[in-house]
């Protein structure tokens, strides 16, 4: 069952390409991104460890079930749930808006964004209503189909003739710059897939083993450095920040001579279509279930549809009003806020869990 934990983290690591993490990091490449990453790794990893350790003390239970049993203060519960809900929902929302933007730019330039959004919303609403266990099964299938091929693309990128290791090293020499908070916040995002454990702990029935964390630690490092350095290797230490979506432009810089599809960008985007969809779905599923958990007593159909249409409404408004650059700026501050919220929630929850089960 431990593999489910791993999937959650992996999805977040894969999705950081869409949610502007490389863009933010590359922007600060001469102003402390490298040091920021080095600092973010222990921070993100510790948060992931603490929270997953704490919540897996309640095997097979999501936060709503735990709250039902232990939480006394109703207002505290609502506050607690509300903040997590907002965090995961906005994470999904940013991913959605960002990816719709990518799709309109690279795949369907003449299609209205709202039309593209509609098919995504249909799929998302369909998936988030399923039981948690089933959402996990879909995630598993999607990862199984896509991850090996994305791994292959990354491998191709590393072994390309056109990757300039000198540019990568040049950025590496800016190691000792004063770390920037924005870079730390963005880099720590790769570890924050654990946040979905609030609901997905329902499918994790056993304790997490040490090697789980070891794998995640190394994967996180590898992921972060791939995310950051490969675009720099392709587009230069000075030129990489000019690209709006560094990774997607990087995938366009790869050529698979013998594959039926020569341009890697399309393969890459086809894979990311489903991974993004699943990432949004798991985030929103968590938010949705938390909402249901808050008003456990009076759960009804009408309420469900009101919440779902509220989600869709948010997405529509966000897609209509958020231009790429604005979204990018918002994401930077969102990352910082997210890190803050995460730290507070993780520390308070793990202290509480320790006391509760001591």
């Amino acid at each position: 069952m431990n593999r489910y934990f791993f999937y959650l983290i992996l999805t977040n690591m894969l999705i950081n390409v869409i949610i502007f993490v490389p863009k933010i990091l590359i922007e600060y490449r001469y102003e402390g991104a490298v040091m920021g990453m080095l600092i973010a790794i222990p921070i993100g990893f510790t948060l992931a460890c603490l929270y997953s350790k704490a919540i897996t003390k309640f095997p097979g239970q999501g936060l709503p079930e735990i709250a039902d049993k232990f939480f006394k203060h109703r207002w505290l519960t609502i506050l607690h749930f509300g903040s997590i809900q907002l965090a995961v929902f906005s994470a999904g929302l940013i991913t959605l808006v960002g990816f719709i933007d990518v799709l309109t730019r690279f795949i369907n330039p003449e299609m209205p964004r709202l039309l593209l959004l509609s098919i995504y919303l249909i799929a998302i609403i369909f998936i988030i209503q399923l039981p948690t266990e089933r959402v996990m099964y879909i995630l598993e299938i999607v990862l199984f189909m896509n991850t090996p091929l994305i791994g292959f693309i990354v491998f191709k990128a590393f072994t390309s003739d056109y990757i300039s290791w000198d540019s990568i090293l040049e950025v590496g020499t800016h190691l000792f710059d004063r770390p920037s908070l924005k870079a730390i916040a963005a880099a720590s995002y790769v570890f924050s897939g654990y946040a979905n454990l609030v609901i997905f702990n329902r499918v994790i029935k056993e304790k997490l083993k040490v090697w789980n964390f070891v794998i995640i630690f190394f994967m996180g490092i590898f992921n972060l450095f791939t995310t950051f350095f490969i675009p720099i290797g392709f587009h230069g230490s000075d030129g990489a920040q000019e690209y709006l979506y560094p990774w997607i432009s990087t995938s366009d810089s790869l050529r698979l001579v013998y594959s039926p599809i020569e341009r890697v960008i399309f393969i890459f985007l086809l894979f990311y279509m489903s991974i993004t969809l699943m990432s949004i779905s798991i985030h929103w599923h968590s938010a949705f279930e938390l909402f249901k958990g808050t008003f456990r007593k009076k759960e009804n159909k009408k309420m469900k549809w009101i919440v779902l249409s509220a989600y869709s409404g948010c997405a529509v408004i966000a897609v209509m009003f958020l231009e790429t650059i604005l979204l990018n700026q918002i994401t930077v501050y969102w990352m910082i806020a997210r890190l803050g919220v995460e730290v507070v929630i993780v520390i308070s929850f793990s202290l509480w869990a320790r006391r509760q089960l001591a």
Partner: protein, 444 residues
């Protein structure tokens, strides 16, 4: 039992059964004995009746001795209720009135008990025979292949009019009791008048009656049944149908052919991979064609893009009309070749496939590439080994095609994902229809 009561029962039974040419009531006498038999001759075996009842009746001297004989004979059971007696009579048992007793003698004619060759799920190697249309024979076939003491057989009835006998088989060691409970509950609630074969259950299984995929596997192969029993599946045998129903079913079962285990490991794996690729191709290809030719031709290489553009030059319709047109032709052909007698079938395929395809391109109605795509889709669709599933898949490709027409590549990607999500959502008696790693029900 007082005589008057027997008489009254006899009267009421005989009143309930409508008079007909094949309803026989006969009285037999010897010096000391008097026996009445009442049966329907078209569904009862008179020879068996003669051999086990009439012959001993005249050979055994004492009245008491003959009673002992009747009471100890394994095929003879005693009277329980009137309703049950009428039912047994209608199933071909003979009612014997002897002294103060009423007996039921099982002398059903077991027609259609010939074992048939497999026609639907054929394999190159391995067993070639399927089920018969007789329930006892089928049960025998399974027991023959599955000689385990833990095999449990439960009988019940389905169908308001047909009163079809249904047997539920499972291995008590492996079967999941929750699932079993659900299946029993389901069977008890099925509302069908005429229940003839297991396929009828497909539709009544979902409350909404509108599931796109079959969630139960209908098979004609005893070897498949035996294998499924050993993995904890529950088997439904239906009287008069040469098909068994396997429950609960996951998508993996639909993609498995019995040939897989009769081949060497790598060959089996290869064939299985081939089937999944075929499934993927037949769902995605038409949609992908529309999405790539009409939205994103940059996916192709230059050479291919130009050759498609060249061959489409004469075609007056947009790509999705072209695809629909050809797919429509192909569906017609498939349907037609099922209906046609075996002797003409190949002719129709040749005429339709070769000549029509050729002519359609010549006439500029569709492009060359389109013909390749449609035939690839048609062929790969039939790679799916279980028919019920391959029919469902035929529908899915239109959904993907529709999404591709409206949304382009995104439609294909999301459409395929929705297809997967839908399959994960479906469940077959509590078991998810599709998961990547199938957990055995009884792993704990």
């Amino acid at each position: 039992m007082p005589t008057t009561k027997v008489e009254s029962i006899k009267k009421s039974i005989m009143n309930k059964i409508q008079k007909a040419e094949d309803v026989v009531f006969k009285e037999n006498f010897t010096k000391e004995k008097y026996l009445e038999t009442y049966y329907i001759k078209s569904i009862s075996d008179e020879q068996v009746l003669g051999k086990y009842v009439l012959k001993p009746f005249f050979e055994i001297q004492g009245a008491e001795l003959f009673l002992d004989y009747l009471q100890s004979h394994p095929k003879i059971s005693t009277f329980k209720t009137e309703a049950q007696t009428v039912e047994s009579l209608l199933r071909g048992e003979a009612v014997l009135f002897y002294q103060d007793y009423i007996f039921l003698f099982d002398c059903k004619v077991d027609r259609n008990n010939a074992v048939q060759d497999t026609t639907v799920e054929t394999t190159i190697q391995g067993p070639q025979s399927g089920f018969s249309e007789s329930l006892p024979t089928n049960l025998g076939l399974i027991r023959h292949r599955y000689p385990e003491a833990t095999l449990k057989v439960e009988s019940s009835q389905v169908g308001a009019i047909s009163k079809t006998k249904v047997m539920l088989l499972y291995d008590t060691r492996f079967a999941d009791m929750d699932t079993l409970g659900r299946i029993k509950e389901f069977l008890a609630n099925v509302k069908i008048n005429m229940f003839q074969t297991g396929e009828q259950l497909l539709d009544s299984i979902k409350k909404s009656n509108r599931s796109l995929f079959p969630v139960m596997l209908v098979t004609e192969r005893p070897d498949r049944v035996a294998i499924n029993l050993s993995t904890g599946k529950i088997i439904l045998l239906i009287h008069g149908s040469p098909f068994a129903v396997v429950l609960p079913t996951s998508m993996k079962d639909f993609m498995a052919s019995m040939a897989d285990i009769y081949q060497t490991y790598w060959v089996g794996r290869f064939l299985q991979t081939l089937r999944y690729i075929g499934l993927f191709v037949s769902i995605v290809l038409p949609g992908l064609y529309v999405a790539t030719t009409s939205y994103n031709p940059e996916i192709y290489r230059v050479q291919l893009a130009l050759s498609i553009a060249g061959s489409r030059n004469l075609v007056p319709y947009p790509s999705f009309v072209e695809v629909l047109l050809m797919l429509f032709m192909m569906e017609m052909l498939t349907e037609a070749s099922i209906r046609l007698p075996k002797a003409i079938g190949p002719t129709a395929t040749t005429v339709g496939g070769l000549i029509l395809g050729q002519a359609a391109t010549e006439a500029g109605l569709v492009s060359n590439i389109m013909i390749i795509i449609v035939s690839t889709v048609a062929i790969s669709n039939f790679v799916v080994p279980i028919n019920a599933f391959s029919f469902s898949v035929r529908i899915v490709k239109y959904i993907v095609l529709g999404l591709a027409t409206v949304f382009g590549l995104v439609g294909v990607g999301i459409g395929f994902l929705l297809f997967i999500a839908y399959m994960v959502k479906l469940d077959s008696f509590g078991q998810p229809f599709l998961t990547l790693i199938q957990t055995k029900p009884n792993k704990k």
